[in-house]
Symmetry: C2
Subunit: 500 residues, 2 copies
């Protein structure tokens, strides 16, 4: 057991003054925030706090988004915010505060370290120490959805080169700055050859610029499965938004410590740090909540700010507190823990151990570095010439529901309407070719993608597309959307249909 | 140990004659197919085989798709195919045979039973017995991708009401037919409210029609995480294509038996049965491959055909063979297995045990039922009236890359071009509002979504959209795609932007 009377204090040398925005949030937020700020004050006296109100209190005070403009000002001014958990009110009109802040502030990287603290926290994977770097803005999470017919709903998955460059660069910079040796990229580019293919390609481009870091790619299905059973084989993983959402929850559960899990959301000009867990209103105000998730998020914040010494002191003191068996109710185990402690007592125990190091768990040693060196990373994207784009046709999507849904009838109709600038190449239904020569087994919804390549080189023009849409409308056909077909430097920029 | 000399044969009564298509596939395919067919012949003498060639041999013989029209004929004629693993040749032009067959035949349900065979196969979750019902045709797997600018690539995620109805009905019918008690639906409908929202909504509609089966919904991120650590809480899980792809690999790994895992692909008129594992060309022809994945797929096929007695006999004999410690190299363990056996010897051991039951593992008892009762399920979708659709505007996506990428400049330009039928409501970049009143932190790619609602009720028409596109083209603006905005029965059929 730790001797309360004799902590060997090795507190950090004086650091420059620095202010961070703080929002305590809802539910257990106020009490865990108080605990965390107490520890921060003890470990890093030069750190000041700029308090803002985010969440239910702000909403009830009239801020429809859950935060007012003063919050954006505070984050922008200070560059970082430490945020408690937020309760999302039920019912319409109120979007997630977290999602709103991420998107509005351009917080493109979501970092989720998932570590095991065996044997003090139960896990089947004692050595696990993985960091998931999740792209945070793109993918189907751009939130662009359209219902296009009675039967068919669509969501756009957008993947962009600058978005991929940001996140790939960040993953490698993070790995290098934190002494990690390997970055694994996970995508489904065997199916989504253009979108996920771009993510993979940009990852490979950056991998060449970091020869000191191993790089590998896995398909997301087997990659997630391996994370579930062999997490020790991973170090840093970078992946698009949706996959990262699933993968990071799997990794946190497997580590056994989702209640302890910290996270950060990194942008070019600011960053937000928060625990992964929610606001737990059922146990709010009882001094029993575990402040560890928010505390480890604060450690990430200090590291991000270049304040390695207090980050090291807090993290090691926290590990020592775990070892000493002072456990909050959520991971207290009779016979294994020494004492069940409340939120405040846990924080006091961590403060008492500042300057000590863990004896069984691995101690951390964060380097001092320039603040925000990760936000403005030094490595540029590979030189990229803007490709020459040529319009070569258009996919027109029809809402068409004639009796029998006979693709041959629709095809004949469209053949007559395509010329002179276009020809009809095919019709698909949910991506499967139904004209010409469809299969009877294919399900026919009321939503038909009709591919019109240019009749001759250069005959596809914006004017020709507008004219085609007019001809379709005059024929009583209901075009609900278009997707132009392009080549880029002569390479086809669109997928072919199954069976094309 | 099993007494070789005294098997108690309780072989099935005579069943009607039946023919199934069989493709042995590539790599280890021929030897495991031979093993499986030997067992089928012994257990179900009334079953005949219609051999077809699929995969590398077909490709090398000139079938570009990896199968010729005679394969489609055989599947259509027989209604089922038992297929060995396929090697996908490297290099362009050759699409996955499995994907092609699934899509062309309309095999909308992918079934993946994931069971633990503790202690004969290592697993951390001995009681696990989960069936994943994965939607097999929709989602981002429709394969509709377009590169739209130098920087931005798009994939369409399509979710349709008939697609959701098929798979929800199938999941509940499957649960009822197989004595299962709960179906869990997993989506991400807190983010994708229209597409995943539809999947969830249709699931809830069908749940009402199966009061004997418990129904629940989970968000896919935490659902996959729970599958990784507490698979025992699940019974049947139904989920869209992409999530199902990831979830089924996680479940198979967690069960410890991905090498034993069978699967089926179910359509309205035919079904395909195959092992989950690949063709393993490195061990082909050595009589060491494990035929269990394909054998359990054949059991699923017999159950599907209503041939419960031979299905029961084979499955129980296989379980008994596991118990007796006769193990192929992939799961042979020194000191725990009794004997390492080859492919042929394993099949012979199963045949010798036909009519016996396992003593420690749970025996199965498949009922006899009408063939294909699952394919034409009795429960209809809830009555559905076609909604009244009204065109209320259009989203036009521009590829725009003027120096500075100033959304206010673009906005001013578009304000002038919108009228008289439309007004400009907003511009977003990757789903985040950048006009009016954007935030400086938002990344601006070269791809801008410009929302034009109708100026007055009824002023949005197909002709007005064509005219708008012409005005944009004449102003030198490059529209790369459109998405019409509709209401359905007066309800908005499109998402709003973050910050709208």
């Amino acid at each position: 057991m730790f001797a309360q009377s004799a902590p060997v204090k090795r507190l950090p040398a004086t650091l420059p003054a620095c202010t961070v925005a703080v929002a305590e949030g809802d539910g257990i937020g106020p009490e865990i925030t108080a605990a965390v700020l107490g520890i921060l004050r003890a470990a890093d006296p030069a750190l000041a706090f700029d308090y803002v109100v985010v969440g239910l209190k702000a909403y009830e005070a009239g801020a429809a988004a859950g935060y007012g403009p003063e919050v954006m000002d505070a984050i922008t001014r200070n560059g970082v915010i430490l945020k408690g958990p937020i309760t999302t009110p039920q019912g319409g009109g109120y979007k997630s505060v977290n999602v709103s802040l991420r998107k509005t502030l351009g917080l493109y990287a979501n970092l989720r370290p998932c570590a095991a603290y065996h044997p003090f926290v139960e896990t089947r994977h004692p050595g696990m120490d993985v960091v998931i770097v999740r792209e945070n803005e793109e993918d189907t999470y751009a939130g662009i959805e359209h219902r296009q017919s009675d039967e068919v709903y669509q969501c756009l998955k957008l993947i962009t080169r600058p978005g991929c460059e940001r996140i790939a660069r960040y993953a490698f910079e993070y790995a290098r700055a934190h002494g990690r040796r390997k970055v694994t990229c996970m995508t489904k580019d065997n199916i989504m050859k253009l979108t996920d293919g771009l993510f993979h390609k940009v990852f490979d481009e950056f991998a060449l610029q970091y020869p000191d870091i191993a790089a590998e790619h896995m398909i997301i299905d087997i990659g997630t499965a391996k994370m579930a059973v062999q997490p020790g084989r991973f170090d840093v993983v970078v992946t698009p938004n949706l996959y990262g959402d699933i993968l990071s929850d799997v990794a946190a559960e497997v580590a056994g410590s989702i209640g302890l899990a910290p996270s950060s959301n990194i942008g070019q000009t600011c960053a937000m740090f928060e625990a992964v867990h929610g606001s737990a209103p059922d146990i709010a105000g009882q001094d029993i909540a575990n402040p560890s998730g928010m505390l480890l998020s604060a450690v990430m914040m200090l590291v991000h700010l270049g304040r390695g010494a207090p980050a090291t002191a807090i993290h090691n003191a926290w590990l020592r507190t775990l070892e000493d068996g002072l456990h909050t109710a959520d991971f207290f185990r009779e016979g294994k823990s020494a004492r069940r402690v409340g939120t405040r007592a846990f924080a006091e125990a961590v403060i008492a151990r500042l300057g000590t190091r863990p004896e069984r768990l691995s101690a951390v040693d964060y380097p001092e570095h320039e603040a925000e060196s990760l936000v403005h990373p030094p490595v540029a994207a590979a030189p990229h010439r803007v490709a020459t784009k040529q319009l070569v046709g258009v996919d027109v999507f029809l809402n068409w529901d004639q009796p029998g849904r006979d693709a041959n009838a629709l095809g004949a109709n469209l053949e007559a309407l395509a010329g002179p600038q276009f020809k009809l190449a095919m019709i698909t239904n949910r991506g499967v070719k139904v004209y010409p020569q469809g299969m009877p087994q294919t399900l026919r919804t009321d939503h038909w993608r009709c591919r019109f390549p240019a009749m001759t080189d250069g005959s596809a023009t914006p004017q020709a597309i507008a004219a085609l849409l007019l001809r379709l409308a005059e024929a009583g056909l209901d075009a609900v959307k278009t997707e132009n077909l392009y080549t880029f430097d002569g390479v086809r920029g669109y997928s072919q249909a199954q069976g094309e």
